[in-house]
């Protein structure tokens, strides 16, 4: 009989006013006892709605049953059949919109804490079990994967398990893509990403860093090197700006630059070589997860006042509820229905403030959200010394510019068919490079789907 408690087993967290001064992980994870207790809340329903909510179709009730029995290693093996990066997914997936959103227990009360359990299992396995390297029979076929972010890693992992010789080309000096340059340490420790990538390497995946595809090699050159298929998972890395006055002032960052300096370039470590502004007051413009990450990072670097400036209301914010909640707990101030009109700087071009205009919500627009409309004459000045633009990103143009036979749409996103195949034979794509900026797990789902399609196409080919 399942435990019918209407609420999830609580996961311990660092106290908000302590954690907003350090870069250690916010959520601390379940103990084995907590995990077993939470697992017992699963009804193990026949039709498994949770599985259909998961972009990589983890066999959720099966692994949870193993957790309830205390067989954590067995649980890991079930998750890992379909998910190459469980420790990452358990931390950053928007479960409330996916598996947990479909959980029957969520109808009356809280859903089963599937994400927390996935995280627990992955962490337990990493810390307590010896990594099992499955015997894989090589099939003699080669696949190139461009980009080592979530879509590329998931595609690479699935193909390696099926016996393909997989090479991942990464532009940066470290593999992981947005998992290492974008998502901060306090949400996703880099040691965990590294360990997941080591797992893929153990499967035989070869990762080549400093390979900027489109520059060092073109897609055609990769094909000429004898690869039977290519998967493009180059992400959506190009940051957008508002185009307002003063945006070129000293103290205006893109969220990408700010977060990369802090994460990948380790400016969060006191005394590290990478320069970063240690700001007193920071305005972060935008309402997505990246905006929350930037704001919470600025707070941790010592800023006294950190504002989220968003032109719509909280309801329309694209960030996860949990991220907004955590940001508020950490004393990030929300300036909603507020849109920057110009950045103000002093005689040395240093930012001293941001002028914003109040907004109200009008008619619904094409996204189905109510369009924000400025209220004339309602300009306000917010005193800040740093502005971080977190307005979204668009796909990187390097591949598009050097592979003209790969069709893209007006926004620069690669066009694919239902099998993730591009207009170029043997070349597949997925993740943000196709959809524009989205989530880690959707990118992983796309990488997985492409891996299946590549396998279908190549398995009969000699």
């Amino acid at each position: 009989m399942a435990d019918m408690s209407p609420v999830k087993t609580k996961m311990p967290e660092q106290e908000p006013q302590i954690r907003n001064k350090n870069f250690k992980e916010v959520a601390l994870g379940y103990t084995p006892e907590m995990a077993v207790a939470e697992a017992k809340r699963c009804l193990n329903c026949k039709n498994k709605p949770c599985v259909s909510g998961c972009p990589v179709n983890v066999k959720i009730p099966d692994f949870i049953e193993k957790v309830a029995d205390g067989d954590f290693e067995g649980a890991y093996k079930i998750i890992n059949e379909t998910n190459s990066l469980p420790a990452v997914c358990g931390r950053v997936c928007p479960q409330e919109m996916q598996c947990e959103g479909k959980c029957v227990r969520g109808i009356k009360g809280e859903s089963v804490g599937i994400g927390r359990l996935e995280r627990f299992v992955a962490d337990y396995y990493r810390e307590n079990c010896e990594r099992i390297i499955p015997k894989i029979e090589k099939n003699g076929k080669k696949v190139a994967v461009i980009g080592s972010g979530p879509s590329g890693l998931s595609c690479a992992g699935d193909l390696a398990k099926k016996g393909y010789e997989v090479t991942v080309f990464e532009a940066f000096h470290t593999a992981g893509g947005v998992l290492v340059y974008g998502i901060p340490e306090f949400r996703l420790p880099k040691s965990i990403v590294k360990s997941e990538i080591d797992g893929l390497k153990a499967l035989g995946v070869n990762i080549m860093t400093d390979m900027v595809i489109g520059k060092v090699l073109t897609v055609d050159e990769i094909i000429d090197m004898g690869y039977d298929a290519v998967f493009i998972g180059s992400g959506a890395g190009l940051p957008m700006f508002m185009g307002i006055e003063g945006e070129d002032s000293v103290g205006v960052y893109s969220a990408n630059e700010y977060l990369t300096r802090i994460n990948l370039m380790k400016a969060y470590i006191d005394g590290y070589d990478t320069p970063i502004k240690h700001s007193k007051a920071v305005a972060v413009v935008g309402g997505g997860n990246v905006a929350m990450d930037a704001a919470r990072s600025a707070k941790r670097l010592g800023a006294e006042n950190v504002y989220i400036i968003y032109r719509r209301s909280e309801e329309e914010m694209p960030a996860r509820g949990e991220e907004i909640h955590h940001a508020k707990q950490e004393k990030i101030e929300f300036k909603l229905l507020c849109n920057p009109t110009r950045v103000i700087s002093d005689e040395n071009s240093k930012v001293v403030g941001i002028e914003c205009i109040k907004m109200e919500l009008g008619e619904s627009d094409s996204s189905g959200r109510r369009r924000p409309v400025p209220i004339e004459g309602s300009e306000v000045l917010i005193n800040v010394d740093t502005v971080i633009m977190a307005l979204g990103t668009s796909p990187n143009p390097l591949i598009k510019n050097t592979a003209k036979d790969i069709e893209t749409n007006k926004r620069g996103c690669i066009i694919v068919d239902e099998n993730m195949q591009t207009s170029k034979d043997g070349v597949y794509a997925g993740g943000d490079a196709v959809t524009g900026a989205a989530t880690v797990i959707l990118a992983m789902g796309a990488g997985k789907k492409a891996a299946q399609a590549i396998n279908e196409k190549l398995k009969t080919k000699n």
Partner: protein, 227 residues
């Protein structure tokens, strides 16, 4: 990056030790290594089909002006090089540049070598008496600004090569954004070459000072590190 040799698989990189990282690079000896090197990045230069070109290098910018002059000269373009330095002790690539142009003019700010004055002084004199259809300017931003102002007067197409603060060089950070013809461009993927008559140099100059305070601090730390 000043040169390459395909036969032995090498590239030649010239570094001026001015900041924390470049000072550390300057400490390297033969056989030492650095962790990573990626490239080439950015778009290749498009010269068009000029008849007579003037390639202008300022200081360490000559490291880039040199291969540009070489490419033009090898295309059969009448090529003149104007190389400006602060002082005699930092003159670089003189022999190399001499080999890839029809005339080489060297200036120093303090007059310790070549002609006393700025590259723009020479350019002005040459442009008064001759017809150029291309100027390429690579060096400190103020130099590129004043070269562009001058060539605008003479109506000579001018390409400048920009080197703003950059993290990855692949279009990800947006740190290298410059305003060109009123539009935001990224020097790493849209450049580094831009039309000198359209670049907002003043904005670029102030953005290049973004980390001046932090850099001064790091350099002092670097001095400690370097003994």
């Amino acid at each position: 990056m000043a040169d390459f040799d395909r036969s032995v698989g090498t590239v030649t990189i010239i570094v001026q030790a001015v900041g924390y990282t470049t000072k550390r690079l300057a400490k390297l000896n033969e056989g030492d290594s650095i962790l990573n090197l990626a490239g080439p990045l950015g778009k290749p230069t498009e010269f068009g089909t000029p008849k007579k070109a003037s390639v202008i290098g300022g200081g360490v910018g000559c490291a880039i002006a040199y291969p540009q002059a070489k490419a033009l000269y090898n295309m059969g373009v009448k090529t003149e090089v104007i190389a400006g330095f602060r002082s005699k002790d930092i003159v670089i690539l003189e022999d190399e540049m001499k080999r890839v142009c029809d005339n080489l003019y060297i200036t120093t700010d303090d007059g310790t070598y070549g002609e006393k004055g700025f590259v723009t002084d020479v350019l002005k004199r040459l442009a008064e008496n001759d017809t150029y259809d291309l100027v390429i300017a690579i060096g400190p931003v103020p130099m590129m600004k004043f070269v562009s102002l001058l060539t605008k007067k003479y109506g000579i197409k001018t390409i400048v090569s920009l080197n703003p603060i950059m993290i990855d060089g692949t279009g990800m950070c947006g740190g290298c954004r410059v305003t060109v013809g009123g539009e935001t461009k990224f020097a790493c993927v849209d450049g580094p070459d831009f039309d000198g008559h359209k670049v907002d140099f003043d904005s670029l100059i102030k953005r290049n000072g973004f980390y001046r305070e932090e850099e001064t601090h790091a350099c002092r730390m670097g001095d400690i590190y370097n003994g």
